[in-house]
C-alpha cells in the first residue's frame, strides 16, 4: 500500500520541445523513485486504439525527446510511460497531450543575439564615424609590421632574396586572409627595392590569390614589368612534404628575410629553426596559439594572434578598416566590463549571502547562467 502511494505520485508531462523547428515533443517524468530500472515511452495519436513504442526514457534525466518522423506539427499526441521497478511495472499516462510547434525564435540563443547586435553595431557605427572623420583615427604601433621595410631592406643590401611562406590553411581562414594583406605590403617593398621574392604555397587556391596579390603590388609600385609568376610556387598539399620543400629552398637560396605567415602546425619549429640557421631576419605571424611559443623564441618579430588580424587595418590605414578595429576594441571594453561587473557582483553577493541576504547572489547566478 505504501509502495502504491509512492508510485502513484509519478507524473508525466508531454510538451512541445522548445526552440526547435517543430516535429518533436518532449516527455518528462516527475517524482520518479530512484529504484526505477527502465522506462519505456509509448505514443498514440487521435484515432489510434493502442499505444506504440516510441523509445527509452533516460532514467537519470527522466526526459525523452520524441522526434519521430511521423510526428506532425499541430496534432495532439498522447503518451504513456511504463516504469519498470524490480518487482512491478507502473504505467503513467501524460496528463495532457503534447503538440509540436515550430518556433520562430530560438530563445536559447538570446545571449548570442544580444552580443551579435552590440558587436555589429559597434563595428558599423565606428566604420561610419571613421568615414566622416578619418583624421581622428589611431592605431597603436605593431613592431612586427613596422619591421617589414627593415627586413626587406636588409635583405636587399645583402643581395639575398626575400621569402614569404604561407601557412597550411585555405583561404577561408582569417589568418590566411591576413597573410595575403601582409604579402601585398612585402611584395610592394620588394618591387620598390627591386630585389627577388619567393612565395611558397600549400594550397592551390591561396597560390592563385597570391599571384594576383603580388602582381597588383608590383603594379602599385610602378614596376609591372618586373613581376614574374614563377616566383610564386606551389609546393605540395601535404604537411611534411611542404616543410621539407620550404626547408630545402631556404638552405639553397639563403634568403635575407623570411616571412612565416598564416596558420601553422607542428612544422612551425622546423621552419623557424632552419630560417634562423641561414641567418635571415624572421617575421612570423599566426593565430595558432600552440605554435606561438616557438615563433616567439626563434623569430625576430612575431604577430601574436589578433595582431595579425589587425594587419590589414594597420597596413592599409583605410578609415573603414581602422573603424572596424576600433569597433572591435569597444567590443573588448564591453566584454571586460561584463567580466568586471560579474566579479564585483559575485564577490559582493557572496559576502551579502554569508550575511544572510541571497538576493544579489541570485542575480549573479542568473547572469552566469545567461552564458
Amino acid at each position: 500500500m505504501i509502495l502504491f502511494i509512492l508510485f502513484s505520485t509519478i507524473t508525466v508531462k508531454a510538451f512541445d520541445t522548445p526552440n526547435d523547428g517543430g516535429g518533436s515533443i518532449t516527455i518528462k517524468a516527475y517524482n520518479v523513485p530512484e529504484t526505477v530500472k527502465k522506462a519505456l515511452v509509448y505514443r498514440k495519436t487521435e484515432g489510434d486504439t493502442t499505444y506504440t513504442l516510441a523509445g527509452v526514457m533516460s532514467i537519470l534525466s527522466y526526459r525523452y525527446v520524441d522526434a519521430d518522423s511521423t510526428i506532425k506539427n499541430g496534432k495532439p499526441y498522447y503518451y504513456r510511460v511504463d516504469f519498470y521497478f524490480p518487482d512491478t511495472v507502473i504505467s503513467v499516462v501524460s496528463d495532457s497531450p503534447g503538440i509540436a510547434y515550430a518556433q520562430w525564435y530560438d530563445k536559447s540563443k538570446t545571449s548570442s543575439l544580444i552580443f551579435l547586435i552590440v558587436f555589429s553595431t559597434l563595428v558599423l557605427v565606428f566604420i561610419q564615424l571613421a568615414k566622416k572623420d578619418p583624421e581622428g583615427l589611431y592605431i597603436r604601433k605593431i613592431p612586427a609590421l613596422d619591421a617589414i621595410d627593415e627586413a626587406v631592406g636588409r635583405s636587399t643590401e645583402l643581395g639575398k632574396p626575400t621569402f614569404f611562406v604561407h601557412g597550411l590553411l585555405g583561404i577561408t581562414d582569417a589568418g590566411t586572409l591576413a597573410a595575403l594583406t601582409i604579402l601585398r605590403r612585402v611584395a610592394k617593398k620588394v618591387a620598390e627595392y627591386d630585389t627577388p621574392i619567393l612565395v611558397t604555397n600549400f594550397d592551390p587556391i591561396v597560390m592563385t590569390a597570391s599571384q594576383e596579390t603580388v602582381k597588383q603590388a608590383y603594379t602599385e609600385a610602378g614596376r609591372p614589368d618586373a613581376y614574374n609568376e614563377k616566383n610564386i610556387i606551389y609546393l605540395t598539399y601535404e604537411q611534411f612534404g611542404y616543410t621539407a620543400g620550404v626547408d630545402g629552398l631556404m638552405v639553397r637560396e639563403k634568403p635575407g628575410a623570411i616571412f612565416l605567415q598564416g596558420y601553422f602546425f607542428a612544422e612551425s619549429l622546423i621552419l623557424a629553426e632552419t630560417g634562423h640557421s641561414v641567418g635571415a631576419i624572421q617575421i612570423a605571424g599566426t593565430t595558432a596559439k600552440e605554435q606561438l611559443p616557438f615563433f616567439v623564441a626563434a623569430c625576430d618579430y612575431v604577430l601574436i594572434g589578433e595582431e595579425m588580424l589587425a594587419a590589414s587595418s594597420y597596413i592599409g590605414r583605410e578609415p573603414v578598416m581602422l573603424g572596424s578595429v576600433k569597433g572591435a576594441d569597444w567590443g573588448k571594453a564591453f566584454l571586460m566590463g561584463i567580466i568586471g561587473i560579474g566579479v564585483v557582483l559575485g564577490t559582493v553577493g557572496a559576502i551579502l549571502q554569508s550575511a544572510g541576504n541571497g538576493a544579489l547572489m541570485n542575480v549573479f547566478e542568473k547572469i552566469l547562467a545567461f552564458f
Binding site: G55, V56, S58, I59, L60, S61, S277, E290
Partner: protein, 284 residues
C-alpha cells in the same frame, strides 16, 4: 674565432647525435628514477579501485590514433590491467572515429597476458566503431545494446552477461576517455552533464594544460597527463601488487628526464655563448 664562436656554429648533427644517445642509453640501462605520484592520477586510480566489488563497470574509450600512441596507449593498458586484477567489469570502446579501434585492440592484447582467468563477455567486452560521434555518447545514455547491437567480434550484446547487465550510464561507474583532442570535453558535455556519469581522462602532455580547469571544477574525477601520467599509474599498480607487464611509460620516463635535462643544458649553453659573443662585439 674563440671557443664560443665555434660552439655556436657547431654542426647541428652533433646535437642530433647527443639527443640520440640521451634517448637510447636510459632505454638500454634504465636509471630507475623514482616516480612521484600526483593528485590527479591518484584520484583516478582510487576512484577505479573503489569500484571493486561494486555492481558497476568501467567504460574505457580509446579516442586517439597512432600519432599520440606513445603517451596514451600505456594508460589504456594500465587501466585495463587494473580492472582485470580487481575483477572490475570493463567495457573497452574502440573510439568515436573508425581509425581508433586498432589502438584499443592493441591495448587489450597487451593487458591480457598476465590474467589467464579473465573471461570475455563476463569480465570485459570490446565495442567497435559505430558512426555518430557525440550522438553515440548520448545514445549510450539510452542503451548500449541499442547503440551498438553487436560487439567488435560480432556477438550480439544481449547475449553477453556483462552487456546484458550494463546497458547505460546507470551501471557505468566511470567513463575514462583517452584522447589528445577535444573529445574528452564531449564526454563531459554529454555523458556527465546530461546523464551524471563520472568522467576520467587520459590525455597528452600538450592537451593536459587545457583540461586542468575540468579537474578544478570536478568535471573530471582525475586525469593522466602525458607519459608521466601513464608512468604514475603503472607505479600505483606496482605498489598495489598488480602485474604491470612491461612498464613502457616508466621506462620511457627515464629517457624523458635525461632528454629534458639535455635540452635545458643546450638552452643555457647556447645563451651563454650568445651573451658572450654579444658582449664582445659591443666592446669592439
Amino acid at each position: 674565432m674563440g671557443f664560443w664562436d665555434r660552439f655556436l656554429k657547431i654542426d647541428r648533427r652533433w646535437v642530433f647525435l647527443v639527443v640520440w644517445i640521451a634517448v637510447v642509453i636510459p632505454l638500454l640501462k634504465p636509471l630507475g628514477l623514482p616516480t612521484h605520484i600526483t593528485p590527479p592520477v591518484k584520484k583516478l586510480y582510487d576512484y577505479i579501485d573503489r569500484m571493486e566489488g561494486e555492481d558497476k563497470a568501467v567504460f574505457l574509450s580509446f579516442d586517439f590514433d597512432p600519432s599520440t600512441m606513445p603517451e596514451l596507449l600505456p594508460m589504456g593498458v594500465a587501466i585495463i590491467r587494473h580492472c582485470f586484477a580487481k575483477k572490475i567489469p570493463i567495457i573497452v570502446y574502440g573510439g568515436l572515429y573508425p581509425q581508433f579501434v586498432g589502438m584499443a585492440k592493441m591495448a587489450i592484447d597487451m593487458a591480457k597476458t598476465d590474467f589467464p582467468d579473465i573471461v570475455y563477455g563476463k569480465d570485459y567486452v570490446f565495442l567497435g566503431y559505430v558512426p555518430g560521434l557525440s550522438l553515440v555518447i548520448l545514445s549510450i545514455g539510452e542503451s548500449i545494446q541499442g547503440t551498438f547491437g553487436n560487439d567488435y567480434f560480432g556477438n550480439r550484446l544481449d547475449t553477453l552477461p556483462l552487456t546484458m547487465h550494463v546497458d547505460n550510464y546507470e551501471k557505468i561507474g566511470i567513463v575514462v576517455d583517452l584522447s589528445g583532442s577535444s573529445i574528452p570535453a564531449s564526454w563531459v558535455a554529454y555523458a556527465y552533464q546530461r546523464y551524471g556519469c563520472r568522467i576520467g581522462c587520459g590525455t597528452t602532455a600538450v592537451s593536459a594544460a587545457q583540461y586542468y580547469p575540468y579537474l578544478q571544477t570536478g568535471q573530471f574525477v582525475g586525469m593522466l597527463g602525458g607519459l608521466k601520467g601513464a608512468a604514475e599509474y603503472e607505479e600505483l599498480l606496482e605498489r598495489n601488487g598488480i602485474p604491470t607487464g612491461r612498464r613502457t611509460a616508466t621506462i620511457g620516463m627515464d629517457a624523458q628526464s635525461v632528454v629534458h635535462l639535455l635540452i635545458i643544458l643546450l638552452i643555457i649553453l647556447g645563451n651563454i655563448g650568445y651573451f658572450y659573443v654579444r658582449r664582445r662585439e659591443r666592446r669592439a
